[in-house]
Amino acid sequence: MASPATARAPSISHLLKYKNGIHYDATGLTPLNSKATAAWKTQKRTTKFVAAVMAPPQPQQRSPASTGSVKHAMTMTEKILARAAEKSQVNPGENVWVKVDNLMTHDVCGPGTIGIFKKEFGSQAKVWDREKIVIIPDHYIFTSDERANRNVDIIRDFALEQNIKYFYDITDRSDFRANPDYKGVCHIALAQEGHCRPGEVLFGTDSHTCNAGAFGQFASGIGNTDAGFIMGTGKLLIKVPATLRFVMDGEMPHFLLAKDLILQIIGEITVSGGTYRAMEFSGSTVKSLTMEDRMTLCNMVVEAGGKNGVVAADQTTFDYLEGKTSSSFEALYSDEAARYLQEYRFDVSKLEPLVAKPHSPDNRALARECRHIKIDRVYIGSCTGGKTEDFMAAAKILISAGQKVKVPTFLVPATQKVWMDLYTLPVPGGNGKTCAQIFEEAGCDTPASPNCGACLGGPRDTYARMNVPQVCVSTTNRNFPGRMGHKEGQIYLASPYTAAASALTGFVTDPRDFL
């Protein structure tokens, strides 16, 4: 019979191959729906042979699992994609066209995406939906680099031309507070502005778009070309990922944070263990996590190669969204009988604070086994570790210690809102002091303007960029060579607790020393 490589006349009948009584798909290699073909074969047989006399078939009371409903059991990710593709069911490995609910871009990839959009759809083309594109300048903002500044101008021009509803502009770089629309780091801004909603499909021109999976939605990072395509059509062709399930149970030890959990997982499955997979987090511990914790978990899914991360939406999610969004949404949940590619179980009560040593996010080690590592600086910031709760955690360690930090400690709040929180919210156990006060007393640098900052190095004049080879403990997400600037810089990824503890001693330090 015809092999896939043979020329095929364009006709439907050649969609399927039929040989030896079995229907195959177009490749001729994979049998279709073996249950159906088996049933067909059975039917064929009974017409030929005389069967024994039987009572007429009774309607049987079968539990859903055995009525064939199993084949419709889907994971949360599969369900979200099925709905977005307007199909009743999808299977891992299938390529589907999904309707996009939101497209996000920023100052680094926005200009390229816009360039492609205009080139491919025409200079007069209009975007598919001016309310579904969110443009957030955040990467290279507080710099004198001309091209970086020009890039913000490019996205502004486009936002005006297309009348984009959500464009968080910044025009006065000398004072971020003078810009009422400016937010800061895109992933945290998306969450804080109510753009992340359960059950929806979000794509962003940034790998950490998976951060939004914390809200029970499908969120994944794409490149400029794919984004340009979405800009014009509102759709994207994607492959449905199989799901890896991470079940975390047990009471969260008081010295552990969500960052430790995700470092544990990445260390477990390696930087490519999640490639083309959805990573679903469940279990009692996950349910007890706050939204910011859940974001930290999902944020680093891409560091394991993951396509997206998800946490089921629950009351915590709905409470967070209260007042942030007026759009309606419908959360979707994994079926009981859904099939997972692999399941990993963790007893969280047995875990200890971790670091990811240079130069890979999966280079996992116990923080306490690295206490001989002398460090030169500490960086607390980014979408991964620059949220309000991250700074609260760091402040808690500093209060506990009552000492000054021994190395330069850089603080870069993710968004304007986080910055405000640092200066207004009292830290629990801090006698009414705010984070900002505690940081100042401990000798940390003054909290900087909210943006992505030195997490990814950036232009040379970026605040806290590592321009000489140094050792840094950081709450960020990657530590590949050159990530924060200098190729020979050594970055230890850690939780805010571990980062603050390390700042106090000048060595990589387990936070239990101060808790």
């Binding site: 025409g122 290279y140 070309t225």
Partner: protein, 265 residues
């Protein structure tokens, strides 16, 4: 046809309502009414594109495997140079987990790839983030590389979603990468931009080749020949990603297959 076959066929086609443009806009996006879902991919990295074009009110479906081609794409066949998919030259060898920060460090991301002069500049910085042990990918006074083929280990292109990574490689003059396997966003971006062919090897070719070896990569023949060592390696078929890259990326492919119209101005 049996019920099973009809049902299977129904599940294979997807109707998409892609025409959501108000009459006044000038963007002419003529997407077809139905698209066929791809067949099972032979390996996880294949990006399957199956497109149907309504012609004469008949839904004709075709896949575009490596030649011979189906009828509908014959006009495209004539445009392809016969030797377009054989690449020959020196190879540059790296190993595992080469991430996007090494391929194109973040400080160069201010260059906008859709601007031609900045595209060239981006290329000149390709692989500049690599450890010195690998050697120079592009000489100091050059903007193009002398290595049209990159050979890598596992998880090539991991890290960021920055499309600048495969674009920088392509702009620098790389034609194909042969890796053990890829990170998904990098692979996807390579195909969508059509900048480089991201090929996968059956074994760890990076362990047996050295930078500077003269190699030939045959896309259609699914092989890599190292002339310096005399060894030949089998490559996994590029599959459906091939025609997309041949065409020059997803948009060009979509236009050639009638999926979208040419730009309106």
């Amino acid at each position: 046809m049996t019920t099973a076959a009809i049902n299977a066929m129904k599940s294979l086609s997807v109707s998409t309502n892609l025409m959501h443009f108000p009459a006044k806009t000038s963007s002419k996006l003529a997407l077809p009414q139905t698209q066929q879902i791809s067949r099972q991919s032979l390996h996880k990295n294949v990006l399957n594109f199956h497109l149907s074009t309504p012609r004469n009110n008949r839904i004709s479906t075709y896949s575009v495997p490596n030649p011979p081609r189906a009828v509908a794409s014959q006009s495209y066949d004539a445009l392809t140079e016969p030797n377009k998919k054989i690449f020959h030259g020196k190879c540059f060898v790296v190993d595992d987990n080469i991430d996007t920060d090494q391929i194109i460090p973040a400080e160069y991301l201010t260059l906008v790839p859709s601007k031609p002069d900045e595209y060239e500049k981006l290329g000149s910085y390709a692989m500049i983030g690599l450890n010195a042990k690998y050697g120079r990918f592009i000489e100091d006074d050059q903007i193009k590389t002398q290595y049209p083929i990159v050979i890598a280990g596992a998880n090539f292109g991991c890290g960021s979603s920055r499309e600048h990574a495969p674009v920088a490689l392509g702009a620098a003059g790389v034609k194909a990468v042969v890796a053990e396997y890829y990170a998904r966003i990098f692979f996807r971006n390579s195909v969508a931009t059509g900048e480089i062919y991201p090929l996968e090897s059956e074994c760890r070719v990076c362990d047996e080749c050295k930078t500077g070896d003269i190699v030939t990569v045959e896309i259609e023949g699914n092989k890599l020949i190292n002339h310096t060592t005399g060894k030949e390696y089998v490559l996994k078929p590029i599959g459906d990603a091939g025609p997309v890259i041949d065409a020059g990326g997803i948009f060009e492919y979509a236009r050639r297959t009638g999926m979208i119209a040419a730009p309106s101005s």
